[in-house]
Symmetry: C3
Subunit: 427 residues, 3 copies
Amino acid sequence: MTGQSHSAEDNLLNFIKELFPICRSITGEGSRETLRLISRHIPLEIHEVPTGTKVLDWEIPNEWNIRDAYVKNSAGKRVIDFKEHNLHILNYSVPVNLKMTLEELRPHLYSIPEKPSLIPYRTSYYSENWGFCLSHDHLGTLKEDMYEVLIDSDLKKGSLTYGELLIKGKYEEEVLITTHICHPSLCNDNLSGISVCTFLAKSLLQNKTNYSYRFLFIPGTIGAIAWLARNEENLKRIKYGLVTSLLGIDSVFTYKRSRLSNAKVDRIVEYVLSKQDFPFKVVNFIPYGYDERQFCSPGFNLPVGNLTRVPFGEYPEYHTSADNFELISEKALQDSLNVFSEIIRHFEADEILINQFPKGEPQLGKRGLYDTIGGRNDSKTLQLAFLWILNYSDGEHTLTDISMLSGLDIGLVREAAVMLKGKKLIQ
Amino acid sequence: MTGQSHSAEDNLLNFIKELFPICRSITGEGSRETLRLISRHIPLEIHEVPTGTKVLDWEIPNEWNIRDAYVKNSAGKRVIDFKEHNLHILNYSVPVNLKMTLEELRPHLYSIPEKPSLIPYRTSYYSENWGFCLSHDHLGTLKEDMYEVLIDSDLKKGSLTYGELLIKGKYEEEVLITTHICHPSLCNDNLSGISVCTFLAKSLLQNKTNYSYRFLFIPGTIGAIAWLARNEENLKRIKYGLVTSLLGIDSVFTYKRSRLSNAKVDRIVEYVLSKQDFPFKVVNFIPYGYDERQFCSPGFNLPVGNLTRVPFGEYPEYHTSADNFELISEKALQDSLNVFSEIIRHFEADEILINQFPKGEPQLGKRGLYDTIGGRNDSKTLQLAFLWILNYSDGEHTLTDISMLSGLDIGLVREAAVMLKGKKLIQ
Amino acid sequence: MTGQSHSAEDNLLNFIKELFPICRSITGEGSRETLRLISRHIPLEIHEVPTGTKVLDWEIPNEWNIRDAYVKNSAGKRVIDFKEHNLHILNYSVPVNLKMTLEELRPHLYSIPEKPSLIPYRTSYYSENWGFCLSHDHLGTLKEDMYEVLIDSDLKKGSLTYGELLIKGKYEEEVLITTHICHPSLCNDNLSGISVCTFLAKSLLQNKTNYSYRFLFIPGTIGAIAWLARNEENLKRIKYGLVTSLLGIDSVFTYKRSRLSNAKVDRIVEYVLSKQDFPFKVVNFIPYGYDERQFCSPGFNLPVGNLTRVPFGEYPEYHTSADNFELISEKALQDSLNVFSEIIRHFEADEILINQFPKGEPQLGKRGLYDTIGGRNDSKTLQLAFLWILNYSDGEHTLTDISMLSGLDIGLVREAAVMLKGKKLIQ
């Protein structure tokens, strides 16, 4: 865990290991440090939105920072200690320095009786409060005593921080990929998303793309709302969008459709998933979940879906201290990255070419594109690709559509299209 | 059977017992007496349409009334007797007073060889005729003899009678609910429909509704045609319509779609049925059945479906003397009434509200509508209802649509909508 | 095989026997002789398109004719002999008169190692070449020797020949039925198509039809392209089209949809197939196959599907000497003809009539079209047909649509429509 880029250790999982210890929240130094680490890989633009800024129906809250927090017993022992695990603090807790009985403390303690060994992750962003989270077993060990409660935090004017990267392509139309960055030491939610998005952006930077790619690393909800408020006039450039996270568990892929439900992004992602070897499921949009809630609110209604492995709330370790390195693997992260790359291969080919000889088939043989000996049964897939492209390059179908219609691999279709372009059969 | 309203006996089945003995037809005193009994429960407007009135392609026929009818053998014994069962008469038989042999009588006798113990129900409204209906066993006991045949009926100028009730709601748009009233002593067809519609109207009169509700108690075919002819300019007010009957048997619910096939009434009824515990089936429109034939004729093409339990013709007792009190039950009638009430709950909520903060989610927490402690997995259904309503109150979806999309109970959705209205988040 | 029409032997299979020996190609005397034999049955118009004519992106090639071809060993024995089987020649081989070793000859010999006993069918229309096709077993018997190779063929200016028949109906709108005629001695591909199309046209000539029927007997690809180039302005008349062949094997029917995929022709053919007793499958359009490739190119995009039994390339005898009389049967050909006739019955009824009494049902009883005794359960199918026709003769549905909607036989629907027309209820 050196943070040294481009080492032999420069993989998805190691990047998560670097990011894990940071106590992130929707604002504060944890976010900034996270974005700094991402910036070692990709040239992120960092935005600061000041406390009090109106963003749609919301307002940027005070910035929260925390240095230490504990509950000490009368013997001076820290019985709950933020330094041991940053999930122990109710995220956004106000500063506290009090002595109190266990009875007085109890309303400020959060545990999950059904999962007695796990520390829950809890927040109180928009209502001033303080508290500690601990395992139910742990809670059971606390005795009647006079406790010293200290939370050494600030909650004051500052700003909300998010990172943005625009990779300009041949077209102004954009692919939007967003992930949230507001969760503290949790692996699958949300570090897996941060890591995959970072490496995906890094690979896209290697080559010229057709579409422009916009990556957002934003705090959940308020970050999406702030970004939307500041970029309203440019939203029409978004042609495909994906909100993502939860990419580290080796399990089913889950695609949640955009609110439009049959947008191009929906059709492409579903098609790509159907061609992978991994199990997958597709569910309709519901107005609950991650930031697709904001992108798909009725006033925006953007073509933005949500791609995860097993979805939020549906794995038992979700939002607990068990969302750790035992849960995720490099293989799962790589598989997720590969699926994203494959989806992007299909976005990239989603362009319309026009057959210049739409009446009848153009004679491929005289252009050296067709077998000269006829009568055989085994037509070659490249020749089939020519016929599919010519027939459907009608102004309504893209190469990606043609791949989906024909079942021919997108790579073969693009290769065949290049050859047809070379012969001026399509443009 | 006292006709005393609001007694302990004032249930759906007892109302059918009151109505059962009356010899109804498409015109005549039987209809009027039936409507009088309904009027004890709901303030029905009674319409009389004179014989000879042109209604669309039809004409109101002569009014038919009957006092007595029998076939007497030479010993003076009534071997077929209208007073024993009003199904014994071919409905709309002209007056007869003749002596004849069994051979001469036979063409006027109707029985069902395949159901030898049952009296069939037969009519001859539009072709002057006379006859008797009897069980095939009964027919077999008739011996060669000289019979006296008497039908003490009238078929002369008069009028067709139907009942109508408009319950005015907040909106001018109407829900049309119709049932036929022309069948004599048959329980399931049509008395079950009359009873359920009467009690449904009675309950709707208790509360202010959003939509207006129009109930029609009409003779089959000619009644619907007469009403359509007289109300053509107001048909556009009909937003949802249901033709009903056959509600007394404890069996599958059957919904036959409107000719439009995907009208709102179709989607709502299918959704409500799918949420009930009862088995149900949905069938496409066919131009054969009850009065939906008229409401869904191509020149009107109204959003009118047909809701029954087991449909007409598909139970062995249909249109025979076995359609009696052994076939129907108070429980089945109550279940039917409850399904109608549930459908109406969904009609009532089928109104569009508009999210006043369509860009991003409005901040519910600052309005006291959202948990202040974040990170938990078990979002409350009321909070989910807020998110669903806000996201889909886009000018295109009604609260009923939102209930159907989310699977959240319509009651919860309406309750949540009231709270959001209170906070001026939707209007 | 007398060619005598209307004899007891005048069946589909015997016609194939007449046509079988001819060495057809995309041009030449073989085509002309084939069209002459067809002309004995139907009044075909013969078109000649001169070599060098530009047709879309193509050009009519030189005309090919062949008289003899062989490979003789040094002992003077014909070891490969065109006179034995016309598949032995690589179709369109240029004239050759050479002596060469087996080694020199080998690149000009075509066989199928996986099907060692069969002679393959191979062509080289658009690239000058010569060769012989023979079974792999046969190839194995050839010894080192000095061979005399003779191909007595011409490849020179001439023309491409095709046959066309327009059967004028009541409407200008056309049904296009095409089959290719360019294959030499192969039974299923393409003689079965020629035979069925000939007899289908012959039967249509017997009666006045509603639609006009255009039959094309054309060489594959270049024939379709030539016809399209010469008839571009009339293509809009084509309302339904079918490319066909491969009709002689007693197997599954296969319908390949038009590129439009839900054109009327697609819906009708699929419906008719679903009502037959034969197994069938329906596949989506792909831009590979027979001449639907040209008719469905994006610049034309005509409502033209492809109907065969087991499709091209999917039976092991395809394009080999085993596509002979052991493969096909009169029964399979007749079944194919019958399915085409049934499809045409549905095209013929695909006309819109308008209900003159669209509001409510017109009173059928007073017009003698309805039972006078009501209440029965067993409504007659003729009466049902009246109701279906009246309800859906709304300007949007044809009689064929009504048959498809109701499941009532198209014959009954047409009969009922004639009765309703007689009563001026529809027009």
